[in-house]
Subunit: 428 residues, 2 copies
């Protein structure tokens, strides 16, 4: 990677002349956003504790009847603090300390709703497939030490906090879950939202640890608007995003943990597409840094066993329903992104684009209900001349009577060779 490369946006700003930059940014990031300025105290904390601090404002149009519904949304990305071989409580306490500091920073920036990254109370150890000691990081979603800390912080700073952790549900068979807990600005536990879609890709062996969430698509109605949480891999599933919208969400957080080699070109696409399709704000939050584990593990990619998980590339950002987005936080530093939004924009975009009225959900409710039946027959028009388009049939042909094999139909199913491509077919 190019040295000192911190983000695409920084690189564009550095090299592209101002007139063209304007055009590039319009096409890639949507309308230009005003930056927020923060108090010296806030800047000092960011400086002293070495985290990036960025702020943007996403405005809406003035209305006659509804006053602006201004909210400051905070998202935090951070690296782990202690070595992964340290005792579990030391690792967790160090993260508690770090997050408390960053949360104070958010408070000094006037944040009303704050969300941390996925499983923030631990290293993302699921690559190891070891159950010990990692399962020890799991805690009760309401009374565990991490949740108690969040309640304290939420109350102290008068701030809603979304806290995604590894959950232990003792009441229901000691089960583990990937869960976000929501706390009100009075320090009350409001409820939880479990990760709906569990990855089995690359080093993300999460299905080894916990199951698909059973909390549906709950929306939390707060003083500052209606929020929901779509955890990590759920961002690849448009239906998941959709249901939070159907239930009325205005801001959907996507606390994640994902690495450069796997997903980086998708990162700017998915949460932003969801904001557009559902006319709400989305907040894509990723871990940052490289996590190294005590024992070596393999990655099912033919490469030798190793001890690190690859680079969590940060790049957290907020996307708006009108298709615009903030620049991202850095690829390699802890950071706090503060975005002041006017929630009226959600309804205004609905009125303008009409996606919620033109989306024909009744048709999809009925087609999906058909499609999930085991005997569903897809709606396919076949070009009769080329009936046999399944690749396995090329093999089957080998075992057919030769008379049949000579029939043109069998042969036309072969893909063209490189040569056939280069010489154009005959004109009849």
């Amino acid at each position: 990677m190019a040295e000192g490369f911190t983000s695409v946006e920084t690189c564009l700003e550095k090299h592209i002349p101002v007139q063209e930059l304007k055009e590039v940014k319009r096409i890639l990031y949507g309308r230009e956003l005003e930056t927020l300025s923060f108090s010296e105290e806030a800047l000092n904390v960011a400086n002293k504790y070495n985290f990036e601090l960025k702020g943007f404002k996403i405005t809406a149009g003035q209305e006659h009847l509804t006053p602006p519904r201004i909210v400051r949304i905070g998202v935090i990305q951070n690296s782990i603090v202690e070595d992964t071989s340290a005792p579990v409580d030391e690792q967790r306490n160090a993260l508690h300390q770090r997050i408390s500091t960053l949360t104070e920073g958010a408070y000094l920036c006037g944040v009303n709703i704050l969300c941390y990254q996925e499983a923030w109370n631990m290293p993302f150890a699921f690559c190891t497939r070891e159950k010990q000691p990692w399962c020890e990081f799991a805690e009760d979603v309401k009374f565990g030490p991490t949740s108690l800390l969040c309640q304290e912080l939420a109350k102290k700073y008068n701030m809603y906090i979304v806290s995604p952790i590894l959950e232990r549900d003792e009441v229901h068979g000691d089960t583990l879950w990937n869960t976000a807990a929501v706390f009100s600005n009075r320090g009350c536990y409001l409820g939880k939202s479990r990760k709906n879609h569990i990855p089995r890709v690359g080093d993300f062996n999460e299905s080894t640890y916990y199951m698909e969430g059973d909390t549906g698509h709950t929306v939390f109605s707060t003083q500052y608007g209606r929020i929901a949480i779509n955890i990590c891999y759920g961002r690849h599933h448009p239906q998941n995003w959709m249901m939070y919208g159907v239930n009325g969400a205005e801001i959907v957080f996507n606390p994640s943990a994902t690495v450069g080699g796997l997903s980086e070109p998708m990162w700017g696409i998915e949460a932003r597409n969801a904001a557009i399709a559902n006319s709400y704000f989305t907040c894509a939050i990723n871990r940052v840094g490289t996590e190294t584990f005590p024992n070596e593990f393999t990655s099912a990619d033919g490469k030798p066993a190793h001890k690190d998980f690859g680079h969590f590339y940060g790049s957290s950002y907020v996307a708006a329903p009108d298709g615009s987005r903030t620049p991202g936080l850095s690829r390699n530093r802890d950071g706090l992104l503060v975005t002041e939004v006017d929630l009226n924009l959600c309804r205004q975009v609905k009125d303008r684009w009409g996606f919620r009225m033109t989306q024909r959900l009744d048709m999809y409710a009925s087609s999906l209900s058909e499609a999930v039946k085991p005997d569903y027959i897809p709606s396919v028009v076949r070009d009769e001349i080329h009936l046999l388009d399944h690749p396995y049939l090329h093999e089957a042909v080998e075992h057919l009577p030769s008379a049949l094999k000579k029939s043109e139909n069998w042969l036309t199913t072969k893909p063209l060779t490189e040569e056939e491509h280069q010489s154009p077919p005959l004109i009849s």
Copy 2:
């Protein structure tokens, strides 16, 4: 706009140093794609007839049992040829001529499946709201002059052709539809796919002319793989994309007509997100140029009446299931983009990422079926302290007995003022 600005990609190539450019392109466009080289004859045609010609190759991994399934996909973007005040047949004939030339170009580049832009047989006149003469461009999807031309071209060039036109269905009440016809490489009409979602945004007064499509999510099984067509505004609807995937599509064309002021920041997002979410290839095709009409019309934007539709920004591209995409064609020239893909990539990405197995369609079939009922109650957890979060309630408070008004609960529902934001709340 910056003068001579033809595309984001050209601008990045021009200004960003090679090492950093590599990183920017990896993050914004995914893996690097080999370019295709074409015969001198092909280049000459492009040169002589003044259209941009670009070619890329999207490879897949080698497999033991399935040979590569190589297909060359062509997409064409073009401006109208004649003045919009010319007689309808002259305008149409000139477009027929232009498209025949571009199709010959595609043939010379070895294209197997070719798709034209939305309503390519006419100017995009729906901004005018006039029925005459524009409805005269509508034709029978099988036997109209445009479809007859396509049959001829498809047969002549041994190429599947997707031809999106304004359709007149004489058999069913002379109704109009926005429809794509599909022709086999033997020149046979295979069937049609109608636009499922109709816009009512900006100057896109299409609901004035035709209704939501009734052909569902048909997939066409061709010699070169399974294709489907999601016309224009349907790209904003993830459920629409999804159903083509459920029916087995491997390539989904998105023939469009959209202008800079409205949608440009969304253009690179939506078709690409669909490719990722559904593990298939998508081809986003846009018109190019500015179309001016004989009579002035207004755009419901407070601005004076005018005669043009704004700039169709071209920028057609192909996106792959692994999150990568080709660069786009130019923002201001006619063009042909040829993309050679190996369709095995669809299944390989399904195996790798598992989106089709982890998408829990049964859950969404059931939640959607509930959600579309008129008495559906969204799943919302309310912060009891701030029950009244609807903005209209601020108005209602005015009319309440003053004793009730003083109750804290009414007041905490107000959004924070600018001042309150700047001075952090008290620490309790």
